[in-house]
Assembly symmetry: D2
Homo-oligomer: 304 residues x 4
């Protein structure tokens, strides 16, 4: 498992100033760099140059970046991509601000996935010497510590699961199945380390973003986040709620452009020997929103 | 302020066995007495004989009982009821299981309100000697510690507020106003001690129950409660969420008969010098559900 | 019960600048007024002019102020003080900054207790119109919402309990007893509203302060408080921990002058019919620190 | 990184019946197997046959088991152990109840470390189909979900860190350094996945156990755990408290034999690119107990 985690999410936003306010003042990220209508943001507990990139113009996902442990792994993955038959290109240092060489893959779901191991090190807000548990001077709004995972939509979940499994060594922690005799894969939550998910996808239109998520400390941090959303007039999709799937706790909300975000806490520990949990469609609502067991139509239909 | 608190809620339920399961297994109350299709329940941190009474047959509120500090106060209140012009009768020891003499008042909203100071002392589950903070052997389901408040509907909020103020020395902690120039009282949250509310009412049909609420420890207890509701297939109205009004935290749900319950935590401290907070209709959704700022129609329309 | 709550604590501090930093930057109180080496502070959820008063010079308690609901009650209390035989004087508007007429009583324990019903109204930070649950722009450090109670020492707990009971209508929520056959009162936690305690006292030297306490939201707020104490180098006495007595959650710490403070959350609801809980000396450690069941000598011996 | 996690801790206990009560009734583990004075226990969220093994007779660590992802990795590790020059032997299926072939290594610190990839699969209490977030019928006491990490003592931290790094691909998340110019390694917290630590060691006597830890949900679960410890008369070492090192939250306590346990929540996400955090001795107390910044002598000196 050489892929370490979701490194960055690059999205389009309709109005950059408005979205900067959301990501900086409400979520509490720091703007690290801005150039030509694109702003690069990081959270306080992230050490790399950026984890969220906003470009003005439209809405939706530009691309995802997953960080790989080393250059040798990139070469190995390149071979596997070729073997899988996915289209890709080598990306070069400078193609992305502060990011080194890597691979740019077009997923079977038509999303762009970039893999890289080299990105400028900036350091966390608490530093490497006798650190505080959180930045005593630097929390704005919610103060999200770090990016966690993303959920995208795909016409062919089986194919995308096979890609992440065969090419990138991801494993499914949980799967939602439907159709006759539960033989059809509707959604899959896959991990590359030992958390419940680093990527997830659900059947839907290719190329779309359902949401990307930040990890926050715990259930109490979600109450605080919900308060801040209200004070800042951020639209809520649903939550605070317990997830059945991943066992985490959640609030879904929207940035000013309409891209769905999540703050997520909790979850269990996975690992290479983790046996996949299966959810059936009759329990899907409980899986998504364990507390309410109801899903609003927005959650099922709105993607960007 | 001689009224101390909401002492009991007596409701009708369609199926007693089913509702007993809800109040005993899910909420964790203890059945103290059962006779002729009526069951008397108490929570673990309550010392009096019962706080919830269920009678089989129909749905909705039979009556509310508020406990008064002493017999002398009952006499004083009787005079005030007469002066106010509300109809009432004296109730006698034995009219209610384990409850002594008192007053039975028909509120301007047509609800029956009983006042009493004498009720059989049973004691809390943790006792009076070197107690544990919660009963080490006796938590079932959510394990609600105690009843907290109730919300009823009335055609004339102003009149009901005047009753509770003039006759019972309640004060409004918060008020929701509407109409031209915000001169119309839509709802009022009133207290008799130093909590945010012991009774609340909102404009609506006379004689109806919107919900009654249990107090639980904190926001984390709400997550646990939400999990139990899901495991026990209890329908949720909304929550976990922050209230703007009372600043508490909440989940609303339904008993098997359709009576709305709430688990509630938090809130601020009031007192006789507390200045009333006012909410305007444009902020009502934020007042009820600060987190989401949206109200589903059920919450506004379903009463029993 | 006309006494509503602990209104203010006036203490001496050795270095005013240093202590202001503690109460303003660490605890998050606001300085409302400063004059002649005395500073008046309030917390964000308090509406009255001040709740903590610091005077430079020495250490320890100058006096306590408890707020009474109305002038008539003051007259009634004056009679009772006389009947009890405690010494007192009338205090006049202006004796205390922004406080009106009242009574200044010398308690049997030699502490000075002021009673008043008139104090300048300043208002809370969240206001009276469609308020947020906490001040979106104004939390510094821990951001304590309000003063809660105080614990003082007395040579004669029985006498002091009798004073608070007979003169001020306080009742004991919990008592610690020792001596032969548990007939000796060692400490008493007394309330005037429906919280577990508004004043407490333990056997010890007359005139001394053990601590005064702020109420904070919940157990999670205590973790945050503990982090801030560490970041600001505030000495901790003990906690976070559960109290057996009052069932609350706590951290004890010291201001720069050495006066002990507490942040306190939780507790149960009392009221006029609450039956007193009794702790015996063999369980005293569990009563104070339910989690550890050990008391350090500092907690038992350090007073100011 | 083929080592996945701490799989089991095997310890001696003086009185098996008494210790079973602690691990089963207080911590909430299940006894899976018992034979010849040895009992095998698992927690509800663990899928493998056992995670804690108790053998009657004495006190202290018998051995640690870390689970490896596959047989091929075991062969690779065997080569590295030889290259490192540590003594080891092959262990065979049946040497340990329900565990397959593996390696038994004598660490430079004289502890016995077993590595294995094959262990009987039992399954978690919530199962693999539409699972609840926790076992609705099966929580006893604290209900620890899973084992997390262990802390052992060693005469030569540098050597042990080199072993875990070179042979097992662990990395140090945090290090405590002392001596002249901070050039001496005092303790190291090392991870194999993406949590803050899977093993830790501190300078001390070879072959000793400082503690082993369970992961629990969050800070609120620690309050509950602390209450249960008190109700069950479990001796506390320290906590609830925040760790500076790992940023987690903790309570340390002792089993009836005197072996130190921990319940631990929180922590950050590491990974192969994580840069090591360094603590200096002057901040060590803050690193261990961020809340209090004091260490009692027991914590520093008591090992088993």
């Amino acid at each position: 498992m050489s892929v370490m985690r979701l490194g960055y999410v690059h999205i389009n936003v309709t109005d950059l100033a408005e979205s900067k306010k959301h990501y900086i003042e409400t979520l509490g990220m720091d703007a690290v760099h801005e150039e030509d209508g694109t702003v690069y943001l990081k959270s306080w507990d992230e050490a790399d140059h950026h984890s969220v990139v906003l470009t003005e113009g439209g809405v939706g996902l530009v691309k995802l970046g997953y960080k790989v442990s080393d250059e040798a792994s990139l070469a190995d993955i390149e071979q596997r991509v070729r073997a899988f038959g996915a289209s890709y290109e080598r990306m070069s240092k400078g193609d992305n601000q502060s990011v080194g060489d890597g691979l740019r893959i077009t997923l079977p779901s038509e999303h762009t996935l970039e893999l890289y191991s080299d990105i400028e090190y900036v350091g966390t807000a608490t530093g490497l010497w006798n650190p505080d548990p959180w930045p005593r001077d630097g929390i704005r709004g919610i103060g999200v510590p770090r990016l966690d995972h993303t959920l995208i939509t795909t016409e062919e979940p089986v194919l995308l699961e096979r890609f992440f499994s065969e090419v990138l060594d991801f494993r499914p922690a949980e799967r939602l199945v439907g159709g006759e005799d539960n033989t059809e894969l509707v959604a899959s939550w896959m991990f590359c380390g030992d958390q419940p998910h680093d990527i997830a996808f659900v059947q839907g239109e290719n190329g779309k973003l359902h949401h990307f998520a930040y990890h926050i400390a715990d259930w109490s941090a979600l109450l605080h986040a919900g308060d801040v959303f209200s004070m800042h007039d951020v639209p809520i999709d649903f939550g605070p709620a317990r997830h059945g799937i991943t066992r985490g706790e959640t609030i879904y909300f929207f940035d000013p452009a309409g891209n769905r975000n999540e703050v997520f806490s909790g979850g269990y520990r996975t690992g290479k020997d983790f046996r996949t949990i299966t959810w059936t469609m009759d329990q899907a609502a409980r899986g998504i929103n364990f507390t309410h067991r109801e899903l609003d139509q927005d959650f099922l239909t709105v993607v960007t």
